[in-house]
């Protein structure tokens, strides 16, 4: 399996929508064929439309607040010794996480298609919160599908969604988490695709949703490339870009500009949710060698049993608690361009504690998984190695979990 150079990864699929000949595709019910085709056509027009790009850039700058800052974590680096640790503080974006990029683009597409209703799924509640913000901003009616278990554990984001006027539809089927929320959202779209636009909250789902989301979050690495050049004059010789991976939208956005680089110069490291140390359950299909399966309209590595039933997952981080993963990350894994590993719940919590102790930074449990890997490898690396972590979410939403697990206010 080989990557092509100078073509965005989101466009390196074949005519049937498969990356590397086997990941992705569009395994959808007949009813969704037409709306998916319409969306595909519309998106390919819009992304080549100068006015649309102008509009996107305008809202990225003035609404989302691009660029987000790129800083050195001096204290943490000094404490650990070894590599320099830097962070791209994507959580500065309006709303507190990278999900705002995809949400804003979907709202703009929804407007362009003349639809008034927008629906989306959410796990940690960030995708839902951002979609509700974007819907409010652009005058769209919004419904968010969310697992009942996640509604309980991510209350602050639910409050925000309701405040923005969105309706939260609790999903009680299955494990009552993100996987069921995505299913229910797709079912809703099947029934309402004539009037309603669907936003998939990550680089997962049928081919077109992977593309739209990746195209949106790619803003992160466009900014980072400029910032790295400003900071170091040129791209340093040893960089490691560490990002958490649930569906994989922030990781793709963080990496997209750097995929063409040699991996000995820029290593891409994805950190999945290993779940509780003592549990057999996890949400790490890439790093724990799950088999390829079809979930939510796409082929990818999926946590499943021999029969093809999707496994329950477990993670302290609702945003990573998903049995599948983006087909583009499967492609990056098999092409050996990116390396995938996992951090346990306990690792992530420890990393959160350490980062907040040394830095004025409050990463949510999702990027805390990435920090756990950075903390693990930094001491073994040379001083001229630049580790950059995407701090893609803010821990405000994790208030209740952190209080329970750490006894902290």
């Amino acid at each position: 399996m080989r990557l092509k150079k100078k073509i965005p990864l989101i466009d390196q699929h074949d005519n049937n929508g498969f990356w590397g000949g086997k990941f992705g595709g569009s395994f959808i019910p007949e009813t969704l064929k037409k709306p998916v085709e319409d969306l595909t056509n519309e998106f390919s027009k819009l992304r080549n439309n100068k006015n649309f790009i102008k509009k996107r850039d305008y809202y990225f700058k003035n609404y989302i607040g691009s660029p987000t800052s790129f800083v050195k974590l001096e204290n943490l680096s000094n404490h650990l010794g070894g590599a320099q640790i830097w962070a791209k503080i994507v959580s500065e974006a309006n709303g507190g996480a990278h999900k705002i990029y995809n949400a804003t683009v979907h709202a703009l597409i929804c407007k362009a298609m003349g639809k008034k209703y927008i629906v989306g799924d959410t796990g940690a509640g960030y995708a839902g919160k951002m979609l509700s913000m974007a819907a409010k901003k652009f005058g769209l009616k919004c419904k968010i599908f969310m697992g009942a278990k996640d509604i309980k554990r991510q209350k602050p984001n639910c409050d925000a969604m309701r405040k923005n006027g969105a309706e939260i539809i609790p999903v009680y089927s299955g494990s009552q988490t993100l996987v069921d929320a995505v299913s229910e959202c797709m079912r809703y779209w099947v029934s309402n695709c004539d009037t309603t636009h669907m936003c998939v909250g990550s680089t997962v789902g049928p081919n077109i949703f992977v593309k739209i989301c990746g195209w949106s979050t790619a803003q992160i690495s466009r900014e980072l490339k400029i910032q790295i050049k400003q900071e170091f004059k040129k791209i340093p010789k040893k960089i490691k870009l560490i990002n958490c991976v649930g569906g994989g939208s922030s990781a793709y956005g963080f990496w997209s500009e750097f995929i063409d680089f040699n991996k000995s110069q820029i290593e891409l490291v994805g950190v999945e949710a290993g779940g509780p140390k003592k549990s057999k359950l996890h949400a790490a299909p890439l790093s724990r060698n799950a088999k390829i399966g079809i979930l939510h309209g796409a082929a990818s590595y999926v946590c499943q049993n021999n029969e093809g039933q999707i496994n329950d997952t477990e993670s302290i981080s609702a945003g990573l608690d998903y049995p599948g993963v983006s087909p583009i990350h499967c492609f990056l894994k098999d092409a050996k361009r990116a390396r995938y590993t996992y951090a346990t719940d306990e690792d992530a919590l420890k990393a959160h504690v350490m980062v907040t102790k040394f830095e004025k930074l409050n990463p949510s449990l999702e990027p805390s998984h990435a920090f756990a890997e950075a903390i693990k490898i930094a001491p073994k690396l040379s001083k001229d190695t630049i580790i950059i972590v995407n701090s893609c979410g803010d821990a405000k939403k994790d208030r209740d979990i952190l209080r329970e697990r750490l006894g902290k206010n």
Binding site: T31, K34, R187, V190, S191, E307
Partner: protein
């Protein structure tokens, strides 16, 4: 030689009525019970669809989801589904059975192995909800080689050009989804409108048997009796749930519903 599916349609046509197709989930609520239900309702149904349950169904409504989760919880495996079909066919060898489900189950089992197993257990047809045209071309031709009917789905959103291609590639039966909905939704389109679209499909090739499904209940079935066939699923699954809840005999209750459905289209 005509397939059992074609014969079932011809027989119904000879009686000047649509064929009645039922949908139940294999293993709902146990392997034994679902076989009993199948045997009993097949006295009234012309073709029996049997679902192989998946725990992430993206096109099914609440009733069928409940049945599927119940069956999985009670331990149903793909091989059990095949043995249910095999046992059923021992008793009713001429009653067509269509397996219906999601592609991941087939993919994990291995396409070829799955189809061989279908052949051995005398499965007559297959509906794969999330394997649309043209992605299903290869699989559909594998089915054809083994004389298993691959049933193409058509929906209100299917474009004219697409419709033509799908019909051209279809086997004996085409499934028309009556409305934009998951299974078990309330019929939100008038029967007249549904039949208009149905006739457009029929016009393309009269020799294809076109059935209508989604939203068909005891209340609505009569209004659509001009179709070649009508599928009832969620109403039946709902009855199973109700029977379990009330500790009544699901076999009797479900059979009664199917009998009443049949009487409405005679």
């Amino acid at each position: 030689m005509n397939s059992l599916i074609s014969k079932a349609f011809s027989a119904a046509r000879a009686e000047n009525r649509p064929a009645l197709l039922t949908y139940t989930v294999a293993g709902d609520n146990t392997k034994k019970k679902s076989l009993e239900i199948l045997k009993s309702i097949s006295n009234y149904a012309d073709i029996c669809e049997l679902g192989f349950p998946h725990n992430t169904p993206i096109a099914d409504g609440g009733q069928i989801q409940t049945s599927a989760y119940r069956a999985i919880k009670n331990g149903i495996k793909i091989n059990d589904v095949f043995s249910i079909v095999k046992n059923f066919k021992k008793l009713k060898k001429n009653k067509p059975i269509i397996l219906m489900g999601y592609y991941n189950m087939i993919y994990q089992y291995n396409e070829n192995k799955f189809l061989e197993k279908c052949k051995k257990s005398k499965v007559d047809g297959l509906i794969v909800v999330d394997l649309p045209y043209p992605e299903n071309k290869n699989f559909a031709s594998k089915c054809k080689k083994r004389r298993i009917n691959f049933i193409q789905l058509v929906s209100p959103t299917t474009s004219k050009i697409r419709l033509k291609k799908i019909i051209k590639d279809s086997h004996d039966m085409i499934y028309y989804i009556s409305m934009l909905s998951t299974t078990g939704g309330k019929l939100k389109v008038s029967p007249k409108k549904i039949l208009e679209k149905y006739n457009k499909i029929k016009k393309q090739n009269k020799s294809k048997n076109v059935v209508i499904g989604f939203g068909i209940t005891e209340k609505t079935i009569k209004s659509l009796k001009n179709a070649d066939g009508l599928v009832v699923g969620s109403s039946i699954c709902k009855e199973i749930s109700k029977s379990i809840e009330k500790r009544q005999n699901a076999v009797t209750n479900v059979t009664n519903i199917v009998r009443r459905l049949k009487n409405k289209i005679l």
